[in-house]
Point group: C2
Chain length 403, copies 2
């Protein structure tokens, strides 16, 4: 009776803290996200005056980051390591929050090709980790990191179910941290509701495509899932190669980011003046609105993103992965004779899933962004994409569950 | 390279077998299910001529079952044990299929209060287990059982996503058998598609309720989730008590089922002539169509179901749990001033979830039966119901994950 009593008190405490984490993380997410959108708009308008400074700004930021960032410079790797008892990491320094926010703003202001979820996930994990430590809940360290990831992701994208599955399935490939789902759900819904209340814009597009069920459709979707899975794997592999290549040839991180920044600046100007800078939301919008998508958009976006992240700019990979998937989906739609918005939506979800070695998270991203009735299609394509990519992930500290 | 090659071949073999299992299980599911519905209709029309024979038929069936059923008489317990390496059970006898089918038909023809998913899950697990053994895939025994459960459940209810989560989360409380999800999904979608193609009727009801989001709604839903969780716990606890009470006082299973059968016959005649016999689909329909639901319907349905199953009649508990949840939901709706179809739907899903110690499965049952846009509400209520019931389950062989 006493054990059961303690259990209930503990569960209630975790639920209350989950709400608190969801709300506080979403407030920072909203401020970060709104300013990021303003910055992105500003860059689009003044692109040619900003892009030349990318390398310079990167160098200054890196200098300060290396000098004062302490373990925060490990980024997502530190978040993953804090969940692992075999490492000695038990706490994420609070400075990770301002560093990741400012670093990401700078990346986007000066035209790097990157995401934004890195910040959200890291600030969520940091706040949650600190709250757990304040309450001396050492045994729940992993649970708190998961709650924080869910809150950060949900507060930014306003897709609480996807955020819950992402947080619980991303740490170890082949294993779901099921026990934490109830708390992650509470944190994610709190964060998502709060961000929406605070007016953070959510990307969503209601699919209207009628896709009649047939055996042929299933065969096509499996083929499409394989292709999206391969693109996700290629992205993850190229990101690894980019990191090792630049680290090997330019061991000094400041020199590295200067060389990389110059390459990105030149390429970004030559390639349609900034079409591939920033999050890639322009490519996403063009994909769904039927505007021009070039057959090679997704290839260039992959190239610039793996260089941007590979040389040390902050941000993340998720929104570029959405853009890569959606624009590649448009290309595939004409080959497979399916509605372009339908295939773009499948790519949006499944390329992200393959590159992060998850399949429930992208399936629910798909349904939360494009409509719940398409869940079976998202599940099929994301599962195939997940099964195809047995090896490559964008998270170098992600572990694999022995089967 | 070779290991990765073997891995892909193995994955493909499992996927192909999953499709095969899905299709073959759904064919038997459909035959079983269609005849069961005919039998149920026949009983409703001729109730008074059939109900007196319940004890007699139960006794004869039990005599044959005990004599020739071998380990199949363990029912769901055998299915659970076959997944556990610590037991010596490695194979489910094929005779479980005809025994569970005929036994369940007899229960329903003569007016017992029971479900039907026991048959579906057991025949799915049996077929899948045999296929795995034929291919000597001993290391995948648990995966095959999970695939079979998913196929059986999906083939019967045509809710493939719920079936996948049910199969992967029911074996061990607090743990999801995540690795098997892709295969379970394939089996479940194959089974569900095939059953639908073969014309097995699916219960679904499109909710039209507008429930404006507010803090008050959240508070109400948490309270409702707690109450549904308690009802599920009470059902599971009473089922355990019923089993131990009858086993203690009537150690002979034939005497036991005769005594139980007579009690059920008398009670069923006195209580509105058969209102509480069978699956309880009449209560479900009445709940959603706004017909009369008595405040005590759910209590009597609990009582008759735990006696029917407790004394040894075959069938299952799931559809009665749906009925108990829906009819209790109607009662709660007037107390909480919410649309009755909305609360009935929440009860339909979450009471089943609490009694089986699952929360993803019932959340998706809810969305697959009542509409995807209600997923957040189902997740909230089912998660609360799951957290409330820390102890009681209808599956005596279900294990608990050490936390």
């Amino acid at each position: 009776m006493n054990a059961s009593h303690t259990h209930i008190t503990h569960t209630l405490l975790l639920l209350l803290l989950s709400i608190l984490i969801g709300i506080s993380v979403s407030i920072i997410d909203t401020i970060f996200g709104k300013i990021l959108l303003l910055i992105s708009d500003f860059r689009v308008e003044h692109f040619i005056y900003l892009i030349p400074f990318l390398a310079f700004v990167g160098a200054i930021f890196t200098y300060i980051y290396q000098r004062y960032g302490s373990s925060a410079t490990k980024g997502m790797t530190l978040v993953f390591e804090t969940t692992d008892k075999k490492t000695n990491e038990t706490s994420i320094p609070l400075r990770m929050i301002p560093f990741s926010i400012v670093g990401t703003w700078l990346t986007h202001l000066f035209g790097g090709s990157a995401g934004r979820e890195g910040v959200a996930v890291q600030l969520g994990a940091t706040i949650s980790n600190h709250l757990g430590n304040i309450f001396h809940l050492d045994n729940d360290r992993k649970t708190f990191i998961v709650i924080g990831i869910a809150a950060g992701f949900a507060g930014l994208f306003e897709t609480p179910i996807a955020a819950t599955f992402f947080a619980t399935e991303v740490l170890i490939v082949g294993k779901l941290y099921y026990k934490a789902i109830p708390f992650a759900l509470v944190a994610a819904f709190s964060a998502s509701t709060m961000s929406s209340y605070l007016g953070l814009e959510k990307f969503s597009f209601v699919l209207q495509d009628q896709v009649p069920f047939s055996l042929m459709l299933i065969v096509k979707l499996i083929a499409i899932g394989i292709l999206f899975g391969l693109v996700g794997a290629v992205f993850a592999k190229l990101l690894q190669l980019s990191k090792t290549f630049f680290a090997k040839h330019f061991p000094n991180p400041i020199i590295r980011i200067i060389i990389g920044g110059i390459c990105i600046s030149i390429a970004s100007i030559l390639l349609y003046s900034g079409r591939y800078s920033g999050l890639g939301t322009n490519l996403i919008n063009d994909s769904f609105l039927g505007h021009t998508i070039y057959d090679y958009d997704w290839i260039i976006k992959i190239g610039l993103t793996v260089i941007t992240i590979g040389v040390g700019f902050l941000g993340g990979e998720v929104t570029p992965l959405f853009a890569i998937g959606a624009s590649f989906g448009v290309v595939l739609s004409s080959i497979f004779q399916l509605p372009f918005t339908f295939v773009a939506a499948l790519g949006y979800a499944s390329v992200f899933g393959s590159a992060t070695r998850t399949f429930l998270a992208p399936s629910f991203i798909g349904t939360e962004v494009f409509g719940f009735s398409y869940l079976p299609y998202f599940l099929l394509v994301c599962t195939v994409a997940y099964l195809v990519n047995q090896k490559y992930t964008i998270y170098s500290a992600q572990k694999y569950h022995a089967s």
